[in-house]
């Protein structure tokens, strides 16, 4: 990944992180606000419910008090105290009284109860006369003078009511009036419920969860079973709680319910008020925020990409130029320059780079000149050395001739013949030297054709056969790969190069040894595309320094070498697209290894 791409990615991630953090932060704040608003609404409805509960309770108490003070109740109380109507005998006279009184005061429930707590007359269940009213005990009378919640048994099942009790006390036996109103959907309909909120009432009338006891404004609430766990929690703990009810897979249809326990006089759980707030506004706002965040994030990302492209381009252009220049320098082009005009660190770096390349260029020129001078000097030294050897015999021979002419004319003829023979021999020697230099300078381009390397080596061994015979003590070993593929090569040049290596090996083993020729096919995968040729000797070996300079022209380790042999070998190998290497261990021998493409 380029520096520019990294920079781009960094910018994008930074912007995304910013947008995400901002969105999460906004959503979290909004969610807390909504939850607070929901809580406030639930508290408001609960407070309203309690207020309405209290108001209705006072209303019920007032009505019950009015009934207790009515002429009818006073008459019945009087009759009871006079003993006119003993217990159940003439309760028939009161059978319908409670219903009439309840209708007059618009109460749903009304019972006239004697001092023993037995019902004399019941409006809600006329047949219940004679049965005890649990709210009144003979010992204590009514439990509470305020309105309270009470479970009321009716013919078609229990219900929940808001009750008040008053006594008509004439004489020693009070007559209790127990009146009340239903606490059901009618009660709920009197509440002023905020928009987006609804109120449910669970009448806790059964020991087990009963979906029919969950009421909304229209009666039995739909989907009661989904709210059951929340209600069960309040039933088990008796504490206010809240929960989210998911009605559908769409989370916007969910509602947050606050469940408030409603207790009776002795703290039994009589009912549960459930204030539900729709999560739709929250979810829709959440979706809008997410959409906005995605839009902002997307646009930001786009802007970020464009900006970072521009910025990264601006920032990285000198770096890219530097990298390009560095690559050119690495490739050997020391003329590479970085064109940076900025005055920052990158500009300074570019200027330093330019200075460095200029220095390198100058050093290279100097090195080339020095090397050239050194080469000429080496060449001159070699020439001088090579020419000096035959020149000295020439000079001595000529001086002998001249001396013989002057001092021993009688021997001149004999000396002349001997001297001319020597002169010719030395002149031939000089010609040979010149021919070698000439040969090196005239290395021909290879003329390639399919060539069997093994055949070249065998031919080579045949040429050197006589020489190897003369040099006793050198054993030749061949390990030629029979499956060696033919390569495109100039067999004459190859023969010449390998001859130099074999000659060097023979020269390296004056005391005898083993000359080993080895070939093998090299494969790239399954295709044999190269051949390797090794020429090893068991001579004195070379030092690492010698190995390093071995292929330098005119460098030789021999007393009379020209230093051109291995230079010619390397030239031939290089012209064939191959490579040559040397491995040598002092006192153990040297191996030259050539790899050539097939």
């Amino acid at each position: 990944m380029s520096f520019r791409q990294k920079l781009l990615l960094l910018f994008a991630i930074t912007i995304l992180l910013c947008v995400t953090v901002m969105s999460v932060s906004v959503y979290g704040t909004m969610r807390r606000s909504f939850e607070q608003a929901n809580q406030d609404r639930a508290n408001s409805v609960a407070a309203q419910f309690r207020s309405e509960f209290q108001r209705r309770g006072e209303d019920v108490a007032r009505k019950v008090e009015s009934i207790a003070a009515s002429e009818t109740v006073q008459r019945i109380a009087l009759e009871i105290n006079r003993g006119v109507s003993p217990a159940s005998a003439d309760a028939s006279g009161y059978l319908g009284e409670a219903r009439t009184l309840a209708a007059q005061q618009q109460l749903d429930f009304l019972e006239l109860v004697d001092h023993q707590g037995n019902i004399l007359s019941s409006a809600q269940w006329q047949a219940k006369f004679g049965y005890p009213e649990p709210a009144i005990t003979p010992a204590t009378g009514p439990a509470d003078s305020r309105a309270f919640l009470k479970r009321e048994e009716l013919p078609n099942g229990p219900t929940l009511g808001l009750f008040a009790i008053r006594a008509a006390s004439i004489g020693e036996q009070p007559l209790f009036v127990v009146g009340g109103e239903r606490l059901d959907q009618g009660f709920l309909s009197t509440l002023d419920i905020p928009a987006g909120t609804r109120v449910l009432l669970y009448q806790n009338l059964d020991s087990n969860w009963n979906p029919q006891s969950l009421l909304d404004l229209n009666g039995a609430a739909a989907g009661a079973d989904r709210i059951a766990p929340l209600i069960e929690k309040v039933r088990s703990t008796g504490q206010e709680t809240q929960g989210v009810i998911h009605w559908t897979a769409d989370s916007a249809d969910a509602e947050v319910f606050h469940a408030l326990p409603l207790t009776g006089p002795n703290e039994p759980l009589m009912g549960i008020l459930l204030v539900g707030s729709s999560r739709r506004p929250l979810i829709e706002l959440q979706r809008r925020i997410i959409s906005a965040a995605m839009l902002v994030g997307g646009l930001g990302l786009l802007v970020a990409v464009l900006a970072s492209l521009w910025f990264a381009a601006r920032v990285t252009r000198p770096v890219v130029s530097l990298a390009e220049a560095a690559r050119r320098v690495a490739a050997g082009d020391l003329s590479a320059k970085v064109d940076v005009e900025s005055s920052d660190e990158l500009g300074e770096l570019a200027a330093s780079f330019n200075r460095m390349t200029e220095d390198l260029l100058q050093q290279k020129d100097r090195a080339v000149q020095a090397e050239r001078v050194a080469a000429w000097r080496e060449l001159a030294r070699r020439l001088a050395h090579e020419l000096k050897n035959p020149l000295f015999p020439l000079q001595v021979t000529v001086e002998n001739l001249m001396r013989a002419k002057e001092k021993s004319p009688e021997l001149f003829e004999e000396v002349f013949h001997e001297s001319t023979a020597t002169l010719l021999a030395e002149i031939n020697n000089l010609k040979t030297i010149v021919a070698r230099f000439s040969e090196f300078s005239r290395m021909p381009q290879p003329r390639r054709r399919p060539t069997q390397v093994n055949e070249v080596l065998r031919s080579l061994l045949r040429v050197f056969h006589a020489q190897l015979q003369d040099k006793s003590g050198i054993t030749v070993q061949t390990d030629l790969d029979a499956a060696l593929p033919a390569i495109q090569a100039d067999p004459d040049l190859l023969h010449r190069a390998l001859s130099n290596l074999v000659l060097n090996a023979i020269d390296a083993m004056p005391q005898g040894g083993t000359l080993t020729l080895h070939t093998t096919a090299l494969a790239n995968g399954e295709v044999k595309d190269r051949v390797a040729i090794s020429v090893s000797d068991t001579g004195a070996g070379l030092t690492p320094e010698e190995c390093e300079r071995l292929f330098t022209p005119y460098y030789t380790t021999k007393q009379h070498g020209t230093g051109l042999g291995l230079a010619i070998v390397q030239s031939v190998v290089s012209d064939h697209g191959g490579k040559i290497s040397v491995e040598s261990t002092k006192e153990k021998g040297t191996t030259f290894r050539i790899e050539l493409p097939a």
């Binding site: 159940s88 005998a89 003439d90 309760a91 028939s92 059978l95 269940w125 006329q126 047949a127 219940k128 006369f129 004679g130 049965y131 013919p155 078609n156």
Partner: protein, 426 residues
């Protein structure tokens, strides 16, 4: 005289009555128009009516009646043996009713089986000797004849000058139909009615005005009847329900003390052994009967035209709940139990038991003799499986305004208006 009744009969036929109130209204109406061949008093003794003498053979299959002389129907035709045979014969296809050939005032009835209760049966209201005119209206032999009839609204009767029992004091009787008991009471209070039917109440109940109230012997049975496909197939459940019902509060409060709590079909005044059937509630025993079972919820229905039935049904449901039996009072859907009220149309216990069994859809009682023990055994057999739970025996009550004199309803609930007269009347 103005009379108000609760029912609104579209036809004047004793066999079309659907409720006890309708039954008694119709019996009272038709008894003003027609006579039976034989009457029967509260003690179950046969009384002469259109027949003033009778004779039976030793097998009680052959009966011969001597008819009263000079009795005519309201249209003037004589109430001869042949005319009476033409009326009775179609009512009893299994009887052979015929005029005795030897004398015009003699009527013979032959039955296939022994008929020891034939006289009581002839005294039943459905056996009133009523012919019908071209309009289908009944023509009888009693002191009043039908002067006008508006089905469902009104019936006007006029005095028959030459009635065999003598001319009544009243010239006419106007009977208004479809008045509820409350409306009747109001009409009586306001002087718009002279005689009404009332809800029975105990003697302790204080009347609000100087009306003449009368109450019959208990001639109705209120009972719970289990439907054949009731969920209460377990006899222990039925027995538990019977034991759970506390009849006393119902009797004293809902029935205003006028009823007799009972566990027998026939009232005690008729048999003398009613107390042998215990009507005491015993919730503990009821619970014990259900100890090892979970009783199904039962549905109890009642006659919505009966003003007291709903409260009684609800009270029974309350009592049952005490014993752990769920009884839902409902008028909709199939019922497991019905709260019914049936008339006991005769003081003859054997015939009354048979009539009750018929109305309660029970098998006919098996009577092996005429003794009280035989009757007890027969009734005990009917109640053995508790498919019927007798609750109360109820009287029927009437009231007359202060201007009605000579008002003496009989003990079986009938009105004897032929002997009353009105103050300020002609």
């Amino acid at each position: 005289m103005r009379v108000a009744i609760q029912s609104s009969p579209m036809t004047l036929d004793a066999n079309t009555s659907s409720t006890p109130a309708d039954y008694w209204d119709m019996v009272r109406l038709l008894s003003l128009v027609g006579d039976n061949l034989v009457g029967i008093d509260a003690e179950g003794r046969p009384q002469p009516a259109l027949a003033n003498a009778w004779q039976e053979d030793s097998t009680a299959r052959h009966w011969q009646f001597t008819l009263r002389h000079g009795v005519n129907f309201h249209d003037g035709t004589p109430a001869s043996a042949s005319a009476i045979a033409l009326i009775l014969g179609p009512l009893h296809p299994d009887w052979n009713v015929r005029a005795t050939s030897a004398a015009a005032d003699s009527l013979t009835i032959d039955t296939e089986a022994s008929a020891p209760t034939l006289l009581a049966e002839l005294a039943l209201p459905r056996n009133l000797i009523l012919a019908h005119n071209a309009a289908g209206l009944p023509i009888g032999t009693s002191p009043f004849r039908i002067a006008d009839y508006q089905p469902g609204k009104l019936l006007k009767l006029a005095a028959v000058e030459d009635s065999w029992s003598g001319r009544p004091f009243l010239d006419a009787i106007e009977i208004e139909f479809g008045k509820s008991l409350r409306d009747q009471a109001v009409a009586l209070e306001l002087g718009r009615a002279d005689v009404i039917a009332t809800a029975p109440r105990s003697a302790n109940a204080s009347p609000r005005m100087r009306t003449s109230s009368s109450m019959s012997l208990p001639v109705e049975l209120m009972a719970l009847v289990f439907a054949p496909n009731s969920k209460a197939q377990d006899v222990r459940l039925r027995q538990a329900l019977a034991l759970s019902i506390d009849r006393k509060p119902i009797q004293s409060v809902l029935l205003k003390g006028a009823a007799e709590p009972t566990a027998s079909i026939l009232p005690n005044w008729m048999t003398g052994y009613s107390a042998a059937f215990s009507a005491q509630a015993n919730v503990q025993r009821a619970k014990a009967l259900l100890a090892d079972s979970r009783p199904p919820a039962l549905t109890l229905s009642y006659d919505p035209r009966d003003p007291q039935a709903q409260l009684i049904a609800e009270r029974i449901a309350l009592n049952a709940r005490e014993a752990g039996i769920t009884v839902q009072v409902s008028l909709s859907g199939p019922d497991d139990i019905r709260l019914v009220r049936i008339p006991l149309p005769t003081p003859d216990p054997a015939l009354a038991l048979r009539e009750a069994a018929r109305q309660l859809s029970l098998s006919p009682p098996v009577l092996h003799g005429k003794s009280v023990e035989d009757l007890f055994q027969a009734e005990h057999g009917l109640l053995e499986d508790s498919s019927v739970i007798p609750l109360f025996h109820l009287p029927v009550a009437s009231a007359a305004s202060p201007r009605v004199h000579g008002w003496a309803p009989d003990r079986l609930g009938g009105w004897n208006l032929a002997d009353v007269w009105l103050e300020n009347s002609r």
